[in-house]
Amino acid sequence: MTIEKFRYDNKIVAMFAWATVIWAIVGMLVGLLAAFQLPFPALNFDAHTTFGRIRPLHTNAIIFAFVGNGMFMGIYYSLQRLLKARMYSDVLSYIHFWGWQLIIVGAAITLPLGITASKEYAELEWPLDIAIAIVWVIFGINMFGTLVRRRERHLYVAIWFYIATVVTVAVLHIVNSLAIPVTLFKSYSLYAGVQDALVQWWYGHNAVAFFLTTPYLGLMYYFLPKAANRPVYSYRLSIIHFWSLIFLYIWAGPHHLLYTALPDWAQSLGVVFSIMLLAPSWGGMINGLLTLRGAWDRVRDNPELKFYVVAVTAYGMATFEGPMLSLKSVNAISHFTDWTIAHVHIGALGWNGFLTFGILYWLIPKLFNTSLYSKKLAGIHFWLGTLGIVFYAIPLYWAGITQHFMWKEFTEDGVLRYPNFLETVVQVVPMYKLRALGGSLYLLGSLVMVYNLIKTARAGKMVANEDAEAPALEKNYVAHDDHWHRWIERRPAQMLIGSLIVILIGGMVEIIPTFMVKSNVPTIASVKPYTPLELQGRDIYVREGCYTCHSQMVRPFRYETERYGEYSKPGEFVYDHPFQWGSKRTGPDLHREGGKYPNSWHYNHMLDPQTMSPGSIMPSYAFMIDDDLDTTTTAAKIRAMQKLGVPYPEGYDAQANKDLMKQANSIASNLEKDGIKVMGNKEIVALIAYLQRLGVDIKAEKTTASVN
C-alpha cells in the first residue's frame, strides 16, 4: 500500500467563503429595503427600485448568491477531505467560482431593469439561464472528476446528498427555464397557464428541496459531527431518510397550487406526498440532533455548535410546518397571506442562515490557521440572529392569520365584512414594521460576524494548499462488508443514475398527464388570444413584477367569489406564457379586474395609488405615463406566440402594430372624455388594455350559453 501525498485546495474554499459573506450582506440589505417598502411606500424610489423588482432581487440574492456560495464553500471543503483528493481541476474550480459570481452580478443588473421571466426563483432571462446551466455542469464535472480520483473507497452520506443536488438542480433548472427567446432580454415560457404553473412549482418547491435542503443536509452531515467530535447517530437512518427524501420531495410541488385551477388529482398528490415527507425530513433533524448526544456540554463553548443546533431545530420546525400547510384546509388559510413568508423565513434565516454562519465560524479559523477572534462576538451574533428570527416570524404569522380572517368574514346580512381589500392591508402594516425590525436585528448580527471573521482572517495566514496524505485505492478490492447499501456507496455513477431515476418518477407522473390529457384543461371557446396591445401590456405587468403582490387566481371559496367574481377556470389561461397566478396577495386578486373600473380609474391609480385608494401601500407607476411603449418588438412577439401555438392568423405579425395603435387610440380618447390627456403610445395605455381584458373572456361564454 503506497501512501500518496497531495494537497487540498483551500484557496477556492476561502474565495467561496468570502463571496458567501459579501452576498449575505447584500441579499439581506435588499431584503430589508423590501421589508421597509411595505410600511413606507415612499421607499419605492424610482422605476428600478419598486417592490415588484426588488423582491425578486432579494429572493435570488439570498438563494443563489448567499446560500449558493455557502453550499459551494462547504462542498469544496468537505468533498476534498471526504474523498481524500484535491478537486479534479483547479481551472474548473475557478471557472465555476467566477462564472457564478458573474451570473449573480448579471442578476443584480437585470432584475432592477425589469428584465425578468417572472417565474419565482427563476426570474433570470434566458441568456443568464444558459450561463447557469453551463456553470452548473462545470461544477458537476469537477465534482465527478474528484469522485473518480478519490482515495476513499466508500462515499459518505454527505456526498450522496451532493450528488442528488447536482443532478436534480440541473434537471429542474433546464426543464423550468425552457422558453422561446423574443429578444436578447425577453422570452416566453414554453408552457402556458396551468401547465406553466405546475412546472414552475415543481421547480419552485424543489429549489427549496434541492438547493436549500439537500446540499445543506450534506453540509450538516460533515460539519456537525466534525465540530461536535461525535459519531453520526445512525447510518441506517441516513440511508432511509436520504432515499425517501429525494423520492418524495419531487412530488410535493402542487401543494403550492391547492384550490387553484390545477386538476384535483394533481393537487391531491401534492397533499399526500407532502404529508409523507414529514418523516424523511425529520430523519435529517434527528440524525443531526442525536449526533450531539454526549456532546451537549460542548454546545456551551462552541459558537458553531450553537448555530447548528438552532439551524437543525429550525429545519425541524419548517419541515413540520410544511406538511401542515399542505393540508388543504390549512392551506386555504395560509395561501396568499404572510404566513407563507413567515414559514420560508424560518427555513432561510434559521436553517440556511444559521448553518452557514456556524460553518463560517468553524471554517475561517481553520483556513487561516488560527482561532476565532472573539467567541463573545459570536455569542452576540447568535443572540441578535435568534431574536431577529423571532421578531421576523411572529408578526408575520399574526399578519397572515389576520389577513385570512378579514378576507373571509361575512356580516349577518351575508355580505363581506371588509369588502374593501385595503382595510385588510392597513390592519397588518404594524406587523410589517415589526418584521422589518426583526430583519434589522438579523442583519446587525451578520455584520458583527463579518467583523469577527475579518479580524480572525487578519490574525492568521491563509493556508492556500494544505498538505495531506492517504493510501491509494487498491485495484483489486474485495467487498467484505455485508450491508447491501455499501455496494452503491462504492459506485458514484450508479449513485448518480439511481438518484436521477428516483427524482424523475414524481415529476413525470405529475407533469406528463397534465400536458397530454385534454380533460385536465377543458377548453373554453370564448377565451381568445390577447390583442397586440394587451400582449404588450401584459409584458409590462410581467416586467414590473406585479405578481409579487397581486395574484390572478380566484379560488373556489364563497368569500373569494363574492369579492372578486367567478372562480378561475383552467381553460382561461391557455394563452398565458408565462402564467401570472402569483403566490402572495399584498394587494387584491386581479384575475377578474377587467371591466371593474373605468380606464380613468386605472390611469389615476397607477399615477398615484393613494388618490384612488387612500392608505394604499402600492408604489406609484407614474413613469409609465411618460414612457413610450416599445412597439418594435410587437411583430417578434406575435411570431413567438404563434410558435407556441397561440392561434393568431397567418401573417398577423405584419399588421399587429396597426391594430395595436387603433386600440391604443380608442383607450386614449376614452380617457380624454374623463379629462385625461395621454398619447396612445404610452406604456400606461397598454397596461390599462391588459388590465381591462383580465378575466372577461369567460363572461362572453356565459352570454352565448344563455342565448342558446
Binding site: K226, P231, S234, D264, I275, A279, R300, D301, I333, P598
Partner: protein, 381 residues
Amino acid sequence: MFISLSAWAGDTQATETTKVAAAQPPDWLMNANTYLIAFVVIILLATILALYRSSLKLLKKITSFCFIMFVSGSAFAAEEAAPAEATKVTAIQPPDWLLHTNTYLIAFIVFILVVTIVVLFKTNMKLIRMIAPHAFDDEKQTAEAGAVSGVKNRETFMRKVYLRLVDSVPVAKEQDILLDHDYDGIQELDNNLPPWWKWGFYITIIAAVIYMLAYHVTGTGKLQAEEYADELAVAAKQKEERMKNSAENITEENVTVLVDAAEIAKGKDIYEKNCSACHMADGGGMVGPNLTDSYWLHGGGVKNIFKTITYGVPAKGMISWQAQLSPKQIQEVTSFIMTLHGTKPAAPKEPQGDEWKDEPAAGATATDSAAVATTAEAVKK
C-alpha cells in the same frame, strides 16, 4: 431553540460559578444568565401581548382557526347549518354542551395548554441541568449507573414506553454499534431507526393511501368544486332565513329615503370608504359623475340610485355593490347621496345624463315623495 439558548447561557457561566462557589443559594439563582433568559422571555411575552392588543377584535376568530385546522374549509361552514337539522330529526337529545362547537374548542385549547406546560417544564429542567450541572446529581448518577450496569433503576412505565419508542443504544455502550466507517475522522453508529419515527412514517403512508382513495376512488371526500357548491348552498339557505325573518326586505321597488341623522351619518361613512375614490368626498365627481347636480346618467331619485348602486353599470365602470353592501347599507348610502344635491363641490364635473325632476313618480308612496321633497327643500335653503 431553548436548548441552545441555555447553552449560550453556559458561556460565561463557567467563570461566574467559580466566583460564587461559596454562596449558598442554588447556582442557577445566582447566575446572571438566568435573569437574562427571564428577561428575554418577558420581552417575548410583551411582544406577544402587544400583538394581541393590536388586533384584539380578531382573537375570537383566531381561536376558531385552531379548530378549522382539522376540519376542511367548507365542513366548517356546514357545521353551522348542521345542528339546526339535527334538532329536527333526533328524538333523543344529547346534552346541549355536547353539541356545542365551543366545547370541543375549549377542550382543544386546554389540551394544547397542557402539552405546552409539559414541554416547558421539561425544557426548564434541561435548562437548569445545563446552567447548574450538579443540581440533580443524585438522579443523574443513578441514571448513569443504571445505564452502565443495566440495573433497572426507577424504571417507571412511562420511561419504559419512552425507551421503547427511542430504541437508542446509550452513549456509554455505543462502542458496540460503532461501524468501521471513517470519513475524514467522522465515524458512524448503527443505531436502529427510532421506532416512533418509523411508525410515524408508516402512518403518513397509510394516511396518504386513505386520502387518495377517499378523494379519488370512493368519492367520500369532497373535491373543491363540490365543496364550493356546498358552501353556496349553505349561504343560500342562510339568505332565505334572513329574508323570512326581516319583515321589511329592502329592494329597489320599495326603498325609501332615510331622514334620520344617525342613518344618514352611517351612509356618509359608507360613502367615504367606498365611493369617494371615484366621486370625490364632496360628490363633485372625477372618475365617476358629479352627484351634486340635477343630472343623472341612470336616473335620479331614491329608487334609481339604489338600483344603480346595487347592480352597477359595468359597461360604464360603475361596479355592483350588492356583494359588498347589504340592502340596508345601500339604502343608507343612497340617502346620504341625496343630501348632496345642490351642494357646492370644490371642483364639480360637468353635468352628465338627463335632468331629473323630483316629481312624485308613479308608484311612489306619499311619504316617500314627501321625504324627498323635504330633503330637496332643506338643501335649497
